[in-house]
């Protein structure tokens, strides 16, 4: 291994600092045979082009990863997205996952919760507890985390339009457990822009939504320094049918919009930027996906440095969570999905993800069973402990193919971002449907290729068999909805309704000013005001977005 001056410089600076703070998992990484595996392979000659485009892990432009030692230091967080039915049922699943070695929780909320309706709202009919857990008030949240110490786990919450309310509930639960708010670790998705184009759980129009987001940025930076205030998500954009390039472009364009909104709200860049995180999709084209992650990291670093003049290295680092691609799962021969997920997960690891969710084999049919979830988690563990890809940092770097593809994705994504900016920015591009149309066209082409047999999906349009056995499915008992509604009714009778009304009136007043909404939301949550009641107050002030 060459010890060029640049390499030495990196070893002395970034690597030494990192090793001091986080020693590597093992003293020596060796193969079967005892040979030592290099931490980082580099070319013999390190030229300007290498430094500019590829560089060193933990150093700008971060193409090779955000940490100098990557998985030799610490494996990614294995974070399985879960939640269904009632809070107590989900609580059981979380405890099971923690016992099985999952290292972070990821909460799925049901659609009424995500759209700010209580379980007894007419729009909630039929949806309660279906795609996630139903949370109506702090009381549900207390049950959800019962016996799970919030200073020991990091919790990711897939919540967007009402993110501030769920975050406030989380903080209130922590307080009841005696955990200081500053000790809370986790992520809220809090990414409203992609909801307008790809996922659909919006409540308010774009501008008031952006205000809620910057209020959260501000509050979290002061109160919960270890919390990721947003997870800027390409995942759902890809699920909606975009290409890899579009996924990168639209996600980073959204990122730019959030940064600009926070700056416009008077926040200091290097104060909030280190807490921004990202969320990408790992789809089936293995090498393209690896290149995509690398390109996204480099492009974001350049945007943060060149456009926004970010100074802190952490402000320039794109840290991301990955989930394997739900849209690639087939309902036919579902065991094949295990293989798909393994390849997709591998791409995320080779691409340097910070945390990972692997889909379960039965998710094209319904919610995953416990057995399927375990296999999905085991897939990550096999990659982590058996595959050997974690022993060396960014092992595919320098491949002609990977580097060329990384460059191409970066260039094409950055052209697309420019196009959005000339059209007046993301919000304008959403309002006139530009982004939606692009995604729609890509989705249509992809599906047409499958219909025409130009794209082979194993077991779906080729290699089909007549299937006899039906896998066991997890179903949510329709009784869950009734039980949840009864619980909500009891809560409304039991709580101090005068306090609730006061808190909601305060919130309404605050929403009409430019003051930070978080303290008032937290106060309201603590009176056991429901999610629906809080959102209703904000709907009255902000209005509602219509798709």
């Amino acid at each position: 291994m060459g010890k060029q001056p640049e390499y030495k410089d990196w070893e002395e600076k970034e690597l030494a600092a990192s090793l001091k703070r986080f020693p590597e998992r093992k003293k020596k990484f060796t193969n079967h045979g005892g040979e030592e595996i290099p931490r980082l392979a580099v070319p013999d000659q390190i030229g300007d082009q290498y430094l500019e485009k590829i560089g060193f892990p933990g150093r700008y432009p971060y193409t090779r990863g955000v940490q100098p030692t990557m998985y030799r230091g610490r494996l990614w967080t294995m974070r399985q997205y879960a939640g269904f039915s009632t809070a107590s049922e989900s609580n059981r699943r979380y405890r099971y996952l923690l016992e099985q070695g999952t290292t972070g929780l990821s909460i799925a909320f049901d659609l009424p919760t995500q759209i700010g309706y209580d379980s007894d709202h007419p729009m909630a009919a039929g949806e309660v507890g279906k795609v996630g857990v139903a949370i109506d008030s702090l009381a549900d949240m207390e049950i959800l985390f019962d016996g799970i110490p919030l200073d020991k786990v990091s919790t990711s919450m897939t919540i967007n339009a009402p993110a501030a309310i769920l975050l406030a509930m989380y903080a209130a639960v922590g307080e009841k457990q005696g955990v200081a708010v500053g000790k809370l670790k986790g992520t809220i998705q809090n990414d409203i822009l992609k909801e307008y184009v790809a996922r659909g759980t919006y409540i308010f129009p774009p501008w008031p939504s952006l205000r809620l987001i910057t209020d959260i940025f501000k509050w979290c930076t002061e109160q919960t320094p270890e919390f990721n205030t947003i997870s800027i998500s390409g995942y759902h954009i890809r699920e909606a049918g975009s290409t890899a390039v579009q996924e990168v472009a639209f996600t980073l364009a959204n990122g730019i919009t959030y940064v600009q909104a926070a700056l416009d709200a008077g926040l200091e860049l290097d104060y909030f930027a280190p807490r921004l995180s990202f969320f990408f999709n790992a789809s089936s084209d293995l090498l393209e996906e690896v290149s995509k992650f690398r390109a996204a990291r480099r492009l974001w670093a350049r945007i943060m440095r060149e456009r926004f003049n970010a100074v802190k290295p952490e402000s320039r680092m794109l840290r991301f969570h990955t989930q394997t691609a739900g849209y690639t799962l087939a309902a036919q021969q579902i065991d094949n999905n295990i293989v798909r997920v393994a390849l997709q997960a591998l791409s995320a690891v080779l691409g340097g993800t910070q945390s990972l969710h692997t889909n379960s084999r039965d998710e094209a049919l319904s919610l995953p069973t416990e057995d399927s979830v375990r296999t999905a988690l085991r897939t990550q563990q096999v990659i982590a402990h058996e595959s050997g890809v974690t022993n060396s940092v960014d092992p595919l770097a320098g491949s002609y193919f990977i580097e060329e593809l990384t460059d191409r994705i970066e260039v094409q994504a950055s052209e697309l971002i420019e196009k959005i900016e000339t059209a007046g920015g993301v919000v304008a591009a959403i309002e006139d449907g530009f982004i939606q149309r692009q995604i729609e066209n890509s989705a249509y082409e992809y599906q047409q290729e499958i219909e025409k047999g130009e794209r082979i999906i194993v077991g779906v349009n080729e290699f089909q068999i007549a299937e006899q056995t039906k896998p066991p499915l997890l179903r949510v008992d329709p009784e869950v909805e009734n039980a949840q509604v009864r619980g909500l009714k009891a809560l409304r009778e039991k709580r101090d309704n005068k306090k609730v009304a006061e808190a909601l009136a305060n919130l309404s007043r605050c929403a009409r000013t430019s003051a930070n909404l978080m303290p008032e939301i937290l106060a309201a949550v603590k009176t056991y005001a429901t999610l629906g009641e809080i959102c209703q107050v904000l709907r009255e002030v902000f209005g509602e977005y219509r798709g």
């Binding site: 659609l111 009424p112 995500q114 279906k130 759980t201 309902a331 798709g547």
Partner: protein
């Protein structure tokens, strides 16, 4: 020179709160490319809103898509809403992530066809065409 053929009008809707419209939009476009006029309602509609739109637009069939698992309550609710509005003759087709054992339940509730992921689109288009023809033949 061909005579003008009758153009079928259909409505594609997404009841409930599920925002995943990739499938619905794909079907809408595939139907358009097969010569249908497709009224699209967008996401997050109530069964009553879908029924009202279907009637105002005078469509011959309604297609619903749902991935959230709420199909057992929401698909029949659309059938009922159409009946309540005096348009029980407009057939309803459904699709989405729907377990096999639910398909029979949905058919009992009046949904004439139910499609799950992996169904060839040609089959779905043929079902819409036949549903439209049956509905239109019953109009006179």
């Amino acid at each position: 020179m061909p005579e003008q053929k009758k153009t079928h009008r259909v409505l594609i809707g997404k009841p409930g709160l599920d925002g995943h419209d990739r499938g619905a939009k794909f079907i809408a476009r595939a139907l358009r490319d097969a010569g249908f006029e497709v009224v699209y309602t967008g996401i997050r509609r109530t069964p009553e809103e879908i029924a009202a739109a279907a009637i105002q637009e005078d469509v011959s069939a309604v297609g619903l898509s749902l991935l959230s698992g709420a199909h057992l309550s929401l698909f029949p609710a659309v059938v009922q809403a159409l009946k309540n509005a005096g348009a029980g003759d407009i057939p309803v087709l459904g699709g989405g992530i729907i377990p096999d054992e639910d398909v029979a339940l949905l058919k009992d509730a009046g949904i004439i066809e139910v499609y799950t992921p992996g169904t060839p689109v040609t089959q779905i288009i043929a079902a819409f065409r036949s549903a439209c023809e049956t509905q239109e033949a019953g109009r006179t």
